[in-house]
Structure formats: C-alpha cells, structure tokens
Subunit: 212 residues, 2 copies
Amino acid sequence: MPKGVSIQVIRRLPRYYRFLTELEAQGVDKISSTKLASVMSSTASQIRQDLNCFGGFGQQGYGYSVPVLREEIGKILGLDHIHRTVLIGAGNLGRAIATHLNFEQLGFKLTAIFEKDEKLVGTMLRGIKVMPDEEIERYARENDVDTAVLAMPKDAVEKMIDKLYAIGIRNYWNFSHYDIAKQYDDVIVENVHLSDSLMTLCYRINEKKYQT
Amino acid sequence: MPKGVSIQVIRRLPRYYRFLTELEAQGVDKISSTKLASVMSSTASQIRQDLNCFGGFGQQGYGYSVPVLREEIGKILGLDHIHRTVLIGAGNLGRAIATHLNFEQLGFKLTAIFEKDEKLVGTMLRGIKVMPDEEIERYARENDVDTAVLAMPKDAVEKMIDKLYAIGIRNYWNFSHYDIAKQYDDVIVENVHLSDSLMTLCYRINEKKYQT
DNA sequence: TAGATTGTTAATCGATTAACAATC
DNA sequence: TAGATTGTTAATCGATTAACAATC
C-alpha cells in the first residue's frame, strides 16, 4: 500500500476500473496506454504515471492485460474488503441510494436502514426492513458496522454523528450539507453534494452562452 | 463574465454560496477572508484569489458583506437564469432527484418527466405527471427545454442523446455511466458518478487502515 | 533482431500559498 | 490617523506532460 498518493490520482482509479470492466466485457484482453487514453479522453502519460504509483502492471512492448489491470485496480481500491454499512434516512434519496447502487461490488454491504419518520419504519427496501432510529446503537454494536450512509436532513446530522461516532463508526458517505469533518478529525468523509454539481452545471451553461 | 477561470475555482463557488447562505441565515452580515477560511476549512489566500477572478467584492480594512457576496456569487453562478429542464427516467434515482432537489434555487426548472416503463407512466412526481418517452420531442420543442437530467440505464442513453441533441438540448446532468461527451463535442455534461464516489471512499478507508 | 510500449526521469505548466502595497 | 484587511503580485509547490532509456 503506497503512501501519499494524491487525491487526484485516487479519484481517477474508479474511472479506470469502470472502463477496464467494460473493455473486459467487450472481450478486449490487452490494451496500450495510448489506446486506453484515447478511449477515456485522457493521456498515455497520465495513465502510466497513475498506475506506476502502485506498481508496474504492464509489459514493455506489449501493453497491459485488461483483466489483470482491472483486477489490480480493484485490489488497490480495496473492493474485496467488504465494509458493513448502514443507511440513515429512508426518504426519497435514501430509497434511491439503497436500490440503485450495487454496494457489494463497490466494497460495501448494506445491512440495515434506519429512519426517524414512523410512517416509513417497517417498510421494506431491497429486502431490508427499515428500523427506527433508536435501534441503531444496538444494531451497529452487534453487527460490526463501520460505515454509515447519511441521507437525512442537515439539521439532524450533528446529533446523529455524535451517536455513530460513539458506537465506533468512523466512515461516512455524506449526502447532507452538514460538515462532518469539522466535528471529528479522525473520520473519513466522502461528500456527495448534488446541488453543488447542479450549480456548477448552471455556471458552465451560462459561461458558454456569453462567450464570444 | 471573465473567461478561462479554472474548473477548480468554479467548483468551489457553490461551496462558497452554501456557506454564505448559512452565515446570512445566522445573521452574520460581514466576514473577513480569514474568518471565512476558518469556517470553510480553506485559506484566506485562496478565497481572495478565487473571488478576484470575478471582481473586488470586499472592502479593504473591513472584509466582505455576507449578503452582498452571497448575491454576487449567485449571479456569477447564473442562478437567476432559469433553464427549462426535463428528467429522463422515473425509477428510484429519478424520483429521488425530482423530489430531493430544489431545482428552482439552483438555476433550473424541472418541467417534465419522461419514462420508458409503462407502469410508471401516468404517476405523479412533485406535481408533474410522468409521460412516455415518445412525447419528449414534441414537448421539448413546444416548451423551450435546453437541459436534460439523465437518470436512466446506460444502455439506452446513446439513442436518447441522439434524440435530445436533434431537438437542440445541449446541457446534460448525467447520472449514467454513458460517456456523453465522446458523442458530441458542443455539449455541456456534468457527470454524477455515485459509484465512483463510493469506490473512492473504499480506497480511503483501506488506506487509513493499513497506514502505520 | 526490430518494433513497440512500458516505467521513470526531466521539463513544463498551472494552482496554491505567501507577501505586501493599496486603501478603507 | 492607525489598524485592519483587501486586491494583487511574486514565490512556491505539485500535478501534468514530454522525453527517452529499458526491455519485452
């Protein structure tokens, strides 16, 4: 496990993994950095630099084996180490997250869903029964949970994090606008700010429109 | 409208906007770059550099007016120019997008939803009736739509884009893994790859675990 | 062997950070 | 005026790109 790989490189790894998965599905079994760059709208230099942060996966004069490279990147990402995960919030967003994503192929196993709203408690999602918030502590302790997905209103997150942190959950996939990192500094937080993405799109549309 | 502002700066603008909105709601009416940096876990230098890509919004010796700065960033983002938008796909993800986001505050107006699956056609979402895919062309032409949100399976996206492009829709908020930009080069595509985000989280968890 | 393509070093480019003069 | 803080220039740092020797 090499240390100090830049976040830019890390964020490109899933993209490599996706494209290699597709190439493998298409029956491509070897590829050069130049060709991969062309497929991915990247550069051969960047691909070789990125990969060589982790090791030499290619063969000079030949290129890279697609299945081997895909598997290696999967290992680098750690997709084979499954993290037991709970989802907090079974509203529209929570339900979409639960049903839309293949957690198990991405390094996680969604094992329980919690919700404050009584009307949603008891409903089923992907074969998982939605439980009331009060049961989180008991459940997480008994089931070795280390990761939480936060799909709940911002206002309630602060107290929820206190609870989850106390149980020992340190990894968060955060869809709320609450700034988790400011509260605790030994947690890992991956934020998904959908509205930021939409505002960025807005900027880019206007930028194009008024460029002359 | 300044030209050539780097994408890094642009992607920080929505975050500034969010924090300023919150500060304003809290009744804070002025702030220095140093204090804002502390709140946002950023640096004063970066904030001043970023803002000065667009103009001098502060006052020397005083700082920045929170409401003024918030409004200026809103204008820079173009949130006041509303783009008429359609959502393609009323599955779990599409429904979450439709119900979860305040499009109108983010520069967009969601006016119609289209879906291939007959079982979902006719259902209501946020007061919008889900229509069959076949009606997109007629609807978009009649209603001056310029943006599409893609929450549909990857396999169907290619043909859909051909259709939307032909109608004149050039802006895409893309939740699928289909690579729209490769097909047409005068489009604006903002991708949201949730699974990439989750894989990145996986990497970061493992990186922390094995660091010693 | 010759051709191809990697792994890796060096050069370039751009972004971030620091410094400070301008000025409110 | 003096203190504070911006706007902006300069310095540093890191990421990307280019080049090429190693080698399959």
